[in-house]
Amino acid sequence: MTDKLREEAKRVLREGIAEMVIGWAEGSAEFKTTPFFAFTEEDCDRLVWNTACVNNLAKYLTDYPKEKKIALCVKPCDSASVNVLIAENKVLRENIYVIGLACGGVIDPIKAADAGTCELSDATAKYACLHCVHDKPEVADIVLGEAERKLTPAGEDMPPFEERRKYWEKEFDKCVRCYACRQVCPNCYCEQCFADRTDPKWTSRKPTAGESWMFHAVRVMHMAGRCVGCGECERVCPKSIPVEKLSREMAKYVKDIYDYTAGMGEKPLLGTYKDEDYDAGVHEE
């Protein structure tokens, strides 16, 4: 698979389809890879594809001007992120060459280090992979390989309604407000985040459960219909707060109410407004 990926990357550069290929390269340990930017055919020999390719590389697209021609390696979930960026006009479809890779789940490097193995299993998998809803890359110019999904899908993990306040109070109390969840999110691309604004001050930097609640609640609202569930936010959290649970719950509401799945449509959720849409609290009789 890695060979096919390298061949394709080389072809892309040789034929001038893109100026650079963003993919993964070997990291410091067998269960760790690192994002890699290939500019020459020689560089392409460092690209790899395996179950440790955990990063959602769509994050890097918004670092560059829209005009730049970029080839991007994506897993199905990352591809959905690319689709969100296209729908929101942050990147131009014609300037992005998407190399899709069939994926049966990836490992969480820290879990794998704890377990001492990089074999993909329910115990070492990135948690979001147990909730995966993406079968194939939504946007791709080419799809490489085939994958079989062997992971056991996790069921409902949001605590029952009555216990949620207590549960999230405990979780948000851990938050140190490093905002790593926001930084690593491919679809969190605001030039200035509301949390960094001092005037008006939407939320205090104080890392108490209440203030952190404000930050996470606003973030999940901003991600409604935009979060594709790649789970990067949850993976990077230095306090292992399961922030993705909130987004997953939100995605469920969006699906139920508007029949919309993030990253699957041509338009963003807000662009699909219809007069008969349900709008609780606004026109309720």
């Binding site: 990291g27 340990a29 690192t34 905002y179 690593v184």
Partner: protein, 327 residues
């Protein structure tokens, strides 16, 4: 040297907690282990079975009120000095406290908040049996010297700990334990030797990490500026002070800050001397490997490897410092 069988750890901690408040890494089952006061019945994670976050979160909490105002009067919130015992931090973390001491205690105005937790704190530092893949203690200093930062060094030999008291306080706290024989002592030394691999050449590192090294651009390209490296670090000491209104008054608090954030160096005028990720990545490395050696005579990084493991994009400080990515 003394011996503490693993089955006796709970009893030892119970005994210790009669005279001191015990602080150790605990986990609620799902998350990484964090340092906090051990409640009765709680089992600290000191066997290396789980990723342990740095003890910084206890010595320098993410939210600490410095003072409050109430009805126009200032209410001091300096914590009382108590007797503590911190168990299960790595030997490298104990050395990181020496870096903290330079920052917070040197000079004529020592920090009373930090000092309250540091002044009477017996440090039981751990040398884990299993060396995690990310650990590089030996690359940042002479590991044997770090023992001086501890009261007791605990060597994990699998089924028991060899306890080496380094201070009178440490000897007093471990005197009830059985003595270790020579073979155990040799095993303990051999274990420590495994951590003492790598070279330390501050001058060579300094030359590699030149301010205008063109490689910085390449090193920082994949950085997403999440700052997890600094939040996970045991020796990063940057903080922010802010004021907030509250019912009937106001409070001034201290919270963590990170040089990886855009607003860290943002000035009131709108000018930012470190506008992009490249200067920020460079700052983190240079601060630890160039400025702190000049200031304190010791490298600011202790090689615990937490940033290597936590970094979501796999930036490996060892490769940057060791020259693989900066030469």
């Amino acid at each position: 040297m003394k011996l503490l069988p693993k089955s006796g750890v709970a009893g030892f901690i119970k005994e210790l907690s009669k005279t001191r408040e015990v602080v150790a890494p605990v986990s609620d089952g799902e998350s990484y282990a964090v340092f906090k006061s051990v409640a009765p019945g709680e089992t600290p994670i000191i066997d290396g079975s789980r990723f342990i976050l740095s003890p910084r979160s206890w010595f320098m909490p993410g939210y600490e009120v410095l003072f409050e105002t109430k009805d126009g009067e200032i209410v001091d919130k300096t914590p009382e000095t108590k007797a503590y015992a911190t168990i299960g931090l790595y030997l490298a973390d104990a050395h990181a406290l020496e870096v903290f001491d330079r920052v917070f205690l040197d000079g004529d105005k020592p920090d009373p908040y930090y000092n309250a937790r540091r002044a009477d704190n017996a440090i039981f530092a751990l040398v884990p049996a299993k060396k995690r893949w990310s650990v590089f203690w030996g690359m940042t200093g002479n590991v044997c010297d770090w023992k001086k930062a501890c009261d007791v060094v605990m060597y994990d030999l699998g089924s028991e700990f060899v306890m080496e008291p380094m201070t009178d306080r440490g000897a007093e706290l471990t005197k009830s334990l059985a003595d270790a024989d020579d073979s155990k002592k040799a095993a303990a030394d051999a274990l420590l030797a495994r951590y003492d691999e790598g070279e330390v050449d501050v001058k060579a590192i300094g030359e590699r990490l030149m301010w205008d090294n063109p490689k910085w651009e390449e090193v920082s390209r994949k950085c997403v500026a999440c700052g997890v490296c600094t939040y996970g670090c045991p020796s990063c000491s940057c903080f922010d002070m802010r004021d907030d209104l509250k019912c009937g008054g106001a409070e001034r608090y201290r919270c963590l800050d990170s040089c990886q954030h855009a607003d860290f160096t943002l000035m009131g005028s709108g000018y930012n001397p470190r506008p992009g990720r490249m200067p920020r990545t460079r700052q983190r490395l240079l601060h630890k490997f160039k400025y702190q050696p000049e200031q304190f005579g010791m490298i600011g990084c202790v090689g615990c490897g937490r940033c290597v493991e936590l970094c979501p994009v796999g930036i490996d400080i060892r490769k940057i410092v060791g020259g693989k990515e900066t030469k």
